[in-house]
């Protein structure tokens, strides 16, 4: 992994002072978009928001848009990472963010998806799943921002 540091990719990414900020704008706009759409499902599971629509419908309607957002996030993220891999790998907040991201993605597309699509799960299960989902994604956001502060 450390070999990446001196790679042509890293050089190319650092050749213009605008590549990093532009990639970051894509990253932030897209994470706001996709996490926000996941949060809409969570809010519905908590019984608030667009109440006339079932959680399964909110999931189905938002899912393609969430995926587009996540695709942009997961494409722009590595661009940021590859600009300085060594710094990121030694940054505790970055490492935390990667674990949180893996957990959040896994949770969203397994348990969260299942509960959201089943309109028969109990309100207790829904509330727990929504809170876990929100906490996981909030951890990812905090982990990302704290990269600059640890």
């Amino acid at each position: 992994m450390l070999l990446l540091q001196d790679s042509a990719i890293t050089d190319a990414l650092n050749s213009s002072e605008w590549i990093f900020p532009i990639a970051e704008c894509f990253h932030i706009t897209a994470f706001a978009w996709s996490i926000g759409l996941i949060a809409l499902v969570d809010l519905r599971l908590l019984g608030v928001g667009i109440q006339q629509t079932k959680p399964s419908q909110i999931w189905r309607v938002t899912a393609p848009w969430t995926l587009i957002g996540l695709a942009v996030v997961l494409l722009s993220g590595p661009v940021l990472f590859l600009s300085d891999p060594r710094m990121y790998l030694h940054n505790s907040s970055f490492v935390f963010k990667m674990y949180a991201l893996a957990a959040a993605l896994l949770f969203t597309y397994t348990i969260h998806r299942k509960v959201a699509l089943s309109d028969t799960s109990s309100s207790g299960v829904r509330v727990v799943v929504a809170i876990v989902s929100l906490l996981l994604w909030i951890s990812v956001v905090f982990g990302g921002l704290f990269i600059a502060f640890v």
């Binding site: 970051e24 704008c25 706009t29 706001a32 996490i35 996941i38 419908q57 994604w137 956001v141 502060f149």
Partner: protein, 163 residues
């Protein structure tokens, strides 16, 4: 607001909260705009989306604005000469104008939009402009961290730490 500047953790925690609100509140704006454009939830009344999210969006905006104001207040002297900060404030003003124009015509009477056989152009315009303005708002906000005042050019440390 000196305490925010002086405490190591307070500033990034406020900034993270600001960002978290952008994410959660941003999703509500996104789904509302997509519905107004006829790109999502087409089988649900516009009124159910607009009315269901109205107070949540307002709550999100208040928290986000408060956090943003605290960030500004703690380092006002640094933000003041920053052109991206003023770009962001200009976009915020445009968002206020968007609200003045489209609240009476779109958001306050979503039932009227549902009564129309096709989504009225004014609703689509409101949705499209909202998406553009909020995307600009997020990008300008991020770019604030990249401005180096002339006296500090060439230094690694910027006034507002980049991510």
């Amino acid at each position: 607001m000196t305490f925010i500047r002086q405490s190591g953790l307070t500033y990034p925690v406020i900034m993270s909260t600001h960002l978290t609100c952008i994410a959660i509140f941003g999703g509500m704006i996104a789904i509302t705009d997509l519905r107004l454009l006829g790109l999502a939830l087409r089988d649900k009344p516009i009124a159910s989306v607009v009315n269901g999210l109205r107070w949540w969006k307002r709550l999100g905006f208040v928290i986000m604005f408060t956090m943003g104001f605290l960030l500004f207040g703690s380092k006002a002297a640094d933000y003041y000469p920053n052109p991206y900060f003023w770009t962001k404030m200009s976009i915020l003003t445009l968002i206020a104008i968007h609200a003045l124009i489209f609240r009476p015509r779109v958001y306050n009477h979503p039932e009227k939009l549902d009564a129309s056989p096709v989504i009225p152009t004014r609703a689509k315009a409101a949705g499209a402009l909202s998406l553009v303005l909020w995307t600009g708002m997020v990008c300008a906000g991020r770019l604030i961290g990249y401005y180096e005042p002339p006296s500090q050019k060439g230094h690694v440390v910027t006034t507002v730490s980049p991510q």
